[in-house]
Symmetry: C3
Subunit: 348 residues, 3 copies
């Protein structure tokens, strides 16, 4: 799609310094863009590329405008302006409504006429599929699911029984929503399954990454609120609640019944134990192990950075002896105090 630069700038409420009639047909990095493309600067460490970029226009904040010889689109939030301009230049692939002949759709399913059911997709009894929904190839939608308008299941997504998706969700391949939670009762060493009777309910504008799994609730539902963004290979256990606009990076996991607030972020491979409460705007760095409730906004960590192997081995050995260190330190303090007493007394 080709757009006038003036129209693009206006669409995001940005100031344009340059020719509004320039034709923009693509996007590129500052160093890689070619004529006809628009680029952006969000990370100051790349600002030296401004002088030589071949982009026809650059989205940036006002302070860098003078360093750029190309047309500039000035925004307080260049990343956001870029996202919106790129979305106009590259809208999601359109599709014809209908269903592929190889799709298997139960006759009791209510599929909106503007939706698409792709090849080898399977849609069960009593499923409700809203306007403009895209069900990609190989998806499995079990009985009783509801998918609201504008949602897109890319390919090979599984929604187990009674899962509900809000409007404009985007679910990537291999994601599984509504599989049984990991509920086990122990009978003298032998595990017995606890029926998982809740559902998964997902709000609007939720994005779920490839091969991520969201388990159904044991009794109550597992709930992802509006605007939640989950990366790939994430595990959300039964009865977890995730608040609005919380984002989680890949390979993170949240154990059962934990409640997470709004606007939180979790670095990759974070692990959250069950039955705790995370407040709003709480942020964890990668590989953090979250073992208790964190109600206050803030930044929290526990990951240890990798270092040279032999030095690391020595440090690990010392960690084991910290208890001993502490005792020896205390003993020394006592001895030195006595010595100070002895030494100073003679001076009195």
């Amino acid at each position: 799609m080709v757009s006038r630069l003036g129209d693009l700038a206006a669409s995001v409420g940005a100031e344009l310094r340059g020719d509004p009639d320039l034709r923009i047909s693509g996007v590129g990095t500052l160093s890689g863009a070619t004529s006809g493309q628009i680029s952006f600067l969000t990370n100051p460490k790349y600002r030296h590329y401004l002088a030589d970029t071949k982009a026809s226009a650059v989205i940036l904040s006002a302070e860098y405008a003078e360093h750029c010889h190309a047309a500039v689109v000035i925004s307080d939030n260049p990343h956001l302006a870029y996202a919106r301009i790129a979305a106009q230049l590259f809208p999601p692939a359109r599709f014809e409504p209908g269903r592929h002949p190889s799709a298997v759709v139960d006759e009791s399913a209510a599929v909106d006429a503007s939706a698409w059911i792709g090849p080898c997709a399977v849609v069960g009894a009593d499923v409700m599929i809203g306007a403009g929904v895209y069900i990609g190839p190989g998806c499995v939608i079990e009985p009783g699911c509801k998918i609201a308008a504008g949602s897109r299941l890319v390919a090979r997504v599984t929604l187990c029984r009674d899962t509900e998706l809000g409007e404009r969700c985007l679910i990537h391949p291999g994601a599984v929503l509504g599989a049984d939670g990991f509920g086990l009762a122990n009978d003298q060493g032998r595990w017995e399954k606890v029926p998982q009777l809740g559902r998964v309910r997902v709000g609007k504008r939720v994005e779920i990454g490839a091969n991520t799994t969201i388990d159904r609730g044991a009794l109550d539902d597992t709930v992802l609120a509006d605007g939640v963004k989950l990366d790939n290979l994430i595990m959300i256990a039964h009865n977890v609640q995730v608040g609005e606009d919380t984002a989680m990076a890949g390979l993170s996991g949240v154990a059962g019944s934990t409640r997470i607030g709004r606007g939180c972020t979790f670095g990759g491979a974070s692990g959250v134990v069950g039955h705790i409460k995370i407040g709003d705007n709480v942020h964890f760095s990668g590989q953090a192990l979250v073992t208790r409730s964190f109600e206050q906004p803030g930044y929290y960590s526990s990951g240890l950075p990798a270092t040279e192997n032999s030095a690391w081995k020595r440090a690990v050995a010392r960690i084991r002896h910290l208890d001993d260190f502490a005792k020896r330190l205390k003993q020394l303090e006592k001895q030195v105090k006595e010595l100070l007493g002895n030494v100073s007394q003679p001076k009195d």
Copy 2:
């Protein structure tokens, strides 16, 4: 399904205090249950809900019976009693035997007449499928697999060549059993594949979570014994053996050839190195890194709990200097010892 309360209590060998003719049609949490539902108390911190619960009956241990105004079902193991009662109220969805017209079943496959092969499922040559087996939509069963009676593959499960499943297994969507193990030989920096010639053999009553992967053995088989329970997104490498009734939480991984005993538990995101031996009844907490054999029953950990970021950064910096700390501590001890000698000598 609606049941008499008396029948439910009797079915789990529990004492009923209340009207045996009450009709129970559902389950709920103590705080959320409504009339006609049965609830349970297993976590003492919820006991204050007993006074006000609207549940018609509550499963609990004897000590809490007097605090509950509803009918009580008294059990030494309320969680287990609940699991069994819930399983009666909500039996697994029944299915008609047969095969969906869109399923692709090799003519050499031996499929029991009471089994179901779902839409778009693919069953290869020489597969054996036992009585009452449910193969959900989109499953792929490669040639030579054997699936024993009563097992259920929910949807989009892959069993690679020659995988064997015991009776009454439950495999959740996206799980992959029998993919090649990660076997590589190095030829002057270039990796060459080592053929993976073993199988995956799974015992009875094994549950495998969504998107979990169990690799086939390199030479011998990878083996999950009866009653093993695996959560989502777990990785079991080639030649691993997992003993009876061992349970593992999500995102855990076990490297090649490790042998794990019976009745073990692994917290989420545990990582176990290869070629070691874990005994029976060994328990690891979340994010534990298991680097050596643990033969003795017990509880083991290595995860570091998340804490406030700036404090954490200081602690991490200190960890790197532990070796230096140790040396300085030793030096101080030596000096103080000398001082004590010097100081005390004059007293003699």
Copy 3:
């Protein structure tokens, strides 16, 4: 397949001590092999099995030859020799070219006559599939993908739009290549999607494990070079570049835009942050958290080994107080220095 031992030894350039006309029909471990099978010794700790092995031949290095009563195939790299001999005895399953009637192949796709498209596989518009490619059951190949000669997608693999695979790649079930990267711009607390416009490009001889996910680039491509080997459940984020012959064990993750060199190895559950650079021949052990660039070859770690729970809890508590320890240690050093001054002065 049955082979002459002499032919097998010659095929890998190894010296044979024994009867070249022995017929070898299989492989086995030293302790498990039976007559007609060939075994190998790579780990010296198993050398005591040499005396009693029932294998007809053993691949080993020269130093162990005399301890083996069976025929020996002497190689400087027994593991590699074994891999190649096993590959001859157990070649990949052959297949007839063509397409299963249930496969859905867009008429614009260019599928080589020697390729196979399996049951319930879906191949989109403008896809190019090379000679001898195997597309297993339930795979989804979105429009514009290119798959070079000899590659094998075992089952239920997803390649999203415009993904490119080089020759002789092997992709295991559930893997997802080319799903959107996790690109989000923040609009006053609300996330907005950044279009992901790059592709995934994979070189030759790349193996990708079950349920591993490789995201497409945001602008530039995500690139796996020739010979990269990825285990199961790995997450490679957008714009990552992985160099030739680098291998990564299961449950590892690499965040966006990180560049990794050649010949690196990553232990299981390693986590690498975004926007850093890892040089050639850099090696990380399991659960390492890689938070900065590592340009020098070497071995690096940060994982903490699991230990007995109560001891661990004490060590964790001490870690939190390391800052306090450091201050007390410094204070003691100062005091002891003063004391030494005081004590020694009288000696002057």
